[in-house]
Symmetry: C2
């Protein structure tokens, strides 16, 4: 990685959609990128699974290899770009590249969420850079702003729509009254959702991304497994209608708050008031709100996925590291988020709630529910009887509460659903923003 | 600036609202900032105009000085923070500090717009950093994202609401039907507008900021004087009402587009469709939209002014440079935007238009206007007769056009306003987004 090397060697681990996007952009914007980076960026090798597969961008056949060592051990490669996704072999290959003294750029949210601090430490020990802007929010600059531009702030909260697949599904459910199943099928037909949508619809993907942002924002270790998750599969079309009547959109919000006792982190379907910018983020667009003690609230919004946006984030990191090489400086070591602020169970959450219950359609039932909530210090903000079902003499109540403790609402609902007059808890959603 | 220095010396040029905000944050978040920066940040000297003035944050009286040399020539100061504003003495003092081998952080949009490239070159020559995140968009990270995170893109357009004072005024005019004078007075009483509001309402402040963003985004030199400007003082309350009926907000949009022949840059009151995120940016909030060939459209939104947000931006830069010092590395030299892509006259603009004219209230007038527009290849999208004034037998027409060339609409309107039946051109506004 001599500063005087005439060009910068790039090694690609993976040449799928994003890898092809990166290769394509490097050739399309090559001259300008060379000017900004201080030298031309040249792809030296690319790890693939099948050399003969047709690709959007054709690299010379001789550049393709099935052997990872051809990339991570090539002395002419300065920067390794990992775009394999998934935990292994990505994690091991990133480790190997760093140990070889190569800068690494990755868009791998799972690896960074699970091994970020140890990999950052490894990068520092080897005097190289590890950058992962593409791991969260696709093309939206959010990692660097959290680590650098907002570093003077005590971050109070991070609230985000950070999974395009679920936001697309929720948008269709809201706009068309579609069922979850219908909207999911539509998303799959458009390529927005995978055949197995579990990671998206269960909030696993969003939890990885929130863990990364919360770790950097709060400068501590937030394990993805400590992020409380609820998926969107149980949402019903009429919850969107009822929420709308109350002035709210329903979004899968990934949110982390710094509270006195520690950190509250969750990915849950949430009622967001239409006055909140996040309520108007529709389709596959992502948005991240960061609240800091100095800056107040800043919002970053843009395309959260796709070859172009992800390539934009990857190339931003690659160009930065290329500058490090061409200028003969070293990557500025950033603090490793290795603090130990506790991540709290959701019981500590204090917020407002939306409750939909099916009850016997007769006098006195609401009084029972209200008194039960009252016994748990949960005060009701509004109650609406939505539908009555004549066949079984039941009615549907939608209740919103004032701010209450999660543990209190859970205990109250446990007792309420045990009441003879209450046949079903249709939905319990949090209201935030 | 020895890497082993036990703490980092900060020198403040100016201790007004923002300077006090920076000093306050350094003491409030000091421990955490020291951890992130790698060493404590200590204010060594602060240039003030009056040592005895009461300030929000009290520094030791011995730290205050009336002599700039005490700051820019103090060997114990590593980073000089310029918050004087205005061209001089700010520009000279930044030069002096850089020549002394000190890193410089400034929020001075006028100095950066006028002298950015020469100061960046001077900083590089002296092996130090010059950072100015606070010069545009207050606490919103936008300078660093443009220079680094989005560097892989060919930037196509930058569109922004970048002056909080005028956005507050326009928001009140839209929401309350207030006149410009009423809304300005309200903004002044709230401290959002200065006694002399010229720089804000005439778009001068926004032109400085747009010139900075366009220079960095297009990697060329965009002179602030080459930015076409129209102020908001001539807007009338009913333009907001008419625009609203057509589905548009009126915002002071600072916009630069990369077109084949060069760059179009202007700060003009603009009709923005409600479907565009910028249309919903109200009050003193700022927002910047960047459109790139890879990323598509990303939006950055947040508080564009005030002590806290500006201090957030300043401290982000200060902490970054402190890391450079503590790690013994050097600031990564970024490309100087010294290209020479021509900035074109507005005649080259191709967009849609909103025209309000007062005409004689009799048959045939619209036909005259329509044929005149047609002769200049300007096709009408909609015409509405808004009001008739019985006293002088006149009526008000609001016309929107399909996309047309600025030069064509200007020529057409010159002839139209010369028609005997046309008494007044009430408004000519561009429609974009």
């Amino acid at each position: 990685m001599a500063p005087d090397s005439s060009d910068i060697g790039i090694g690609l681990l993976g040449l799928g959609t994003v890898g092809s996007g990166v290769a394509g952009a490097l050739s399309a914007n090559g001259a300008e990128i060379a000017r900004v980076a201080g030298a031309p960026l040249t792809i030296r090798r690319a790890l693939v699974r099948d050399k003969n597969r047709k690709r959007a961008v054709e690299l010379g056949h001789s550049l393709l290899t099935l052997n990872p060592a051809d990339v991570v051990e090539d002395d002419t490669i300065d920067i390794v770009v990992e775009l394999l996704g998934g935990e292994e072999p990505a994690h091991s290959l990133i480790q190997a590249a760093l140990k070889q003294g190569k800068h690494v750029v990755t868009g791998n949210k799972e690896v960074i969420a699970k091994y970020g601090p140890s990999l950052m430490t490894l990068a520092r020990a080897n005097g190289v850079g590890l950058r992962f802007e593409a791991a969260v929010g696709g093309g939206i600059p959010i990692i660097a702003p959290l680590r650098r531009d907002l570093a003077g702030n005590q971050v109070i909260a991070i609230s985000a729509i950070i999974n395009g697949t679920t936001n697309y599904i929720l948008t269709r459910m809201a706009q068309e009254g579609a069922s979850f199943e219908e909207a999911l099928a539509e998303a799959q037909s458009l390529g927005y959702a995978e055949a197995d949508p579990t990671s998206d619809v269960e909030g696993i993907d969003a939890a990885y991304k929130l863990a990364i942002m919360a770790s950097l924002g709060f400068k501590t270790r937030v394990e993805h497994a400590a992020v409380y998750r609820e998926g969107i599969a149980s949402l019903e079309a009429r919850d969107f209608q009822y929420a709308d009547e109350l002035g709210y959109a329903i979004k899968l919000i990934a949110r982390a708050d710094r509270v006195p006792e520690g950190i509250l982190a969750r990915v849950v379907p949430t009622l967001v008031p239409y006055t909140d910018p996040l309520a108007n983020v529709d389709g596959v667009i992502n948005a991240v709100q960061v609240e800091g003690d100095l800056v107040g609230r800043v919002t970053f919004q843009g395309p959260g996925a796709g070859a172009g946006p992800t390539a934009s984030a990857v190339l931003g990191d690659v160009i930065h590291l290329a500058r490090v090489v061409t200028s003969g400086t070293t990557e500025l070591p950033l603090p490793v988020p290795d603090g130990d602020i506790p991540v709290l169970p959701l019981d500590h959450l204090q917020t407002r709630y939306y409750v939909r219950v099916t009850v016997d359609d007769r006098p006195g039932v609401l009084a029972q529910i209200a008194s039960n909530l009252g016994q748990h210090d949960v005060s009701i903000a509004s109650v609406t009887q939505k539908e009555t079902f004549d066949d079984d003499q039941t009615a549907e109540l939608v209740i919103t509460t004032h701010s209450a403790r999660e543990s209190a609402i859970q205990q109250a609902l446990a007792q309420i659903t045990a009441l003879p007059a209450v046949s079903k808890l249709g939905a319990l959603l949090r209201i935030e923003g």
